[in-house]
Amino acid sequence: MIDRRRFIAGAAATALAAGAARVLSAAPEPVIRVTARRFVFLPNVLTLKRGVPVTLEFTSADVVMGFSAPDFNVRTDIIPGQVSRLRFAPDKVGDFTFLCDVFCGDGHEGMNGTLHVVA
């Protein structure tokens, strides 16, 4: 009986350790912080991995902006005083344009950047 209890406890500890090992071995999900201000994104080249979820965290240094990546059908508003988060996993490799899609003044048309997605 004692042996059985020890066996069960030991098995549970092993399972727990295995789970912990899985958690510890998984790389933390990447987070990229991006500042938007008229009329630039900083940084404006974001390197991502295909199939790897990433969270983009946006702040605005001045006015309401938008981030849109039409090739991945994702977008978010960027509101001054708030952190806007956008989580997605790019599903294709290449260079893709992202842009501000909320008109913010003379220079809005040039407010864009590149998602550089690697395998």
């Binding site: 893709f96 344009t97 842009l99 899609d101 909320v102 008109f103 003044g105 003379d106 048309e109 040039g110």
Partner: protein, 297 residues
């Protein structure tokens, strides 16, 4: 042969117009003749960006719009009306300067001999103040009117800086359309493309698909718009979309280069890529003959 065909052939033969784009369906001669009395034409001008400065882009930025006004005034026959499809002025952060530009633009186009002129804003006119200054000078940003059997609808997809038509205006559109027969001739004027022409360059309307869904049950719908500073002809289902040249600078073809930057002025070909158009509304069923006119020195 109708008078309108004669006139279009004359334009082609005389070299007065650019490419003539026939939009619509062929029809029997008898129906054509029966409805010919309702034929007319209007002029579309777009994207004058009054207040823009940049000598390498357009060293005649203050002269191009007046040249177009003079050219329209010089037409042998006046159009029934004229429509400006937005970006009358170039954007500015300064509300007083915005009003000064709108006022100067208004004073220039007051020189048009044709008095029936319809305006709508572009994002440069309206997005930074939700259409407030535009409204002071030109009134409503969305409205409808009828002319010789055609129902014209002006949609505002720019007063919201996020390029949305919005719930209120979509409800207005739905109610307006509900009063139209399914075979009514409908023309939509707007600034941005209602379909996602090239969203990577912000050439789209966020909720344009909802406007198009409302228009879909109507068999005869044509959209004329601006924003992209070049001619483009696209069909979504049975709805045709025709963009116009600008009166300040051309932009590159959608996605043809990495960045959406104005095409530089070519001293060897001044005013190249700038222009305006006539649209001839022919007899039912739908047909619009589009004649493009370059700006000339």
């Amino acid at each position: 042969m109708s008078a309108s065909i004669d006139r279009r052939d004359f334009l082609k033969l005389a070299g007065l117009g650019g490419a003539v784009f026939a939009s619509g369906l062929a029809r029997g001669a008898e129906r054509y003749a029966a409805a010919a009395q309702n034929e007319f034409f209007f002029v579309q001008l777009s994207d004058s960006h009054w207040g823009f400065e940049g000598s390498v882009i357009n060293p005649d930025a203050r002269g191009t719009l007046p040249k177009a006004v003079a050219a329209v005034n010089a037409l042998a026959a006046p159009p029934d009306f004229i429509v400006f499809t937005g970006d009358l002025t170039h954007t500015t952060d300064d509300p007083a300067e915005r009003r000064r530009r709108l006022g100067e633009f208004r004073d220039i186009v007051r020189g048009l001999k044709v008095r029936d002129v319809h305006f709508m804003p572009g994002e440069h006119d309206a997005s930074l103040d939700h259409g407030a200054a535009f409204g002071e000078f030109f009134g409503a940003t969305h409205y409808a009117f009828d002319h010789k059997g055609v129902h014209f609808i002006v949609l505002d997809n720019v007063s919201d800086p996020a390029a949305r038509i919005g719930e209120e205006q979509l409800a207005w559109l739905e109610a307006d359309l509900a009063r139209q027969a399914r075979d009514a001739r409908i023309v939509v004027f707007t600034h941005r493309p209602l379909f996602p022409l090239y969203p990577q360059w912000d050439w789209a309307t966020r909720d344009g698909d909802r406007a198009l869904a409302l228009l879909m049950p109507y068999r005869d719908v044509t959209v004329f718009y601006g924003h992209i500073h070049q001619e483009n002809h696209t069909r979504t289902a049975h709805i045709e979309h025709h963009s116009a040249h600008s009166l300040i600078f051309p932009l590159p073809a959608p996605g043809s280069q990495p960045r959406r930057e104005p095409v530089r002025w070519d001293p060897a070909h001044p005013y190249r890529g700038l222009g305006w158009r006539e649209v001839e509304a022919e007899a039912q069923p739908p047909a619009y003959a589009i004649s493009e006119f370059p700006v000339k020195a």
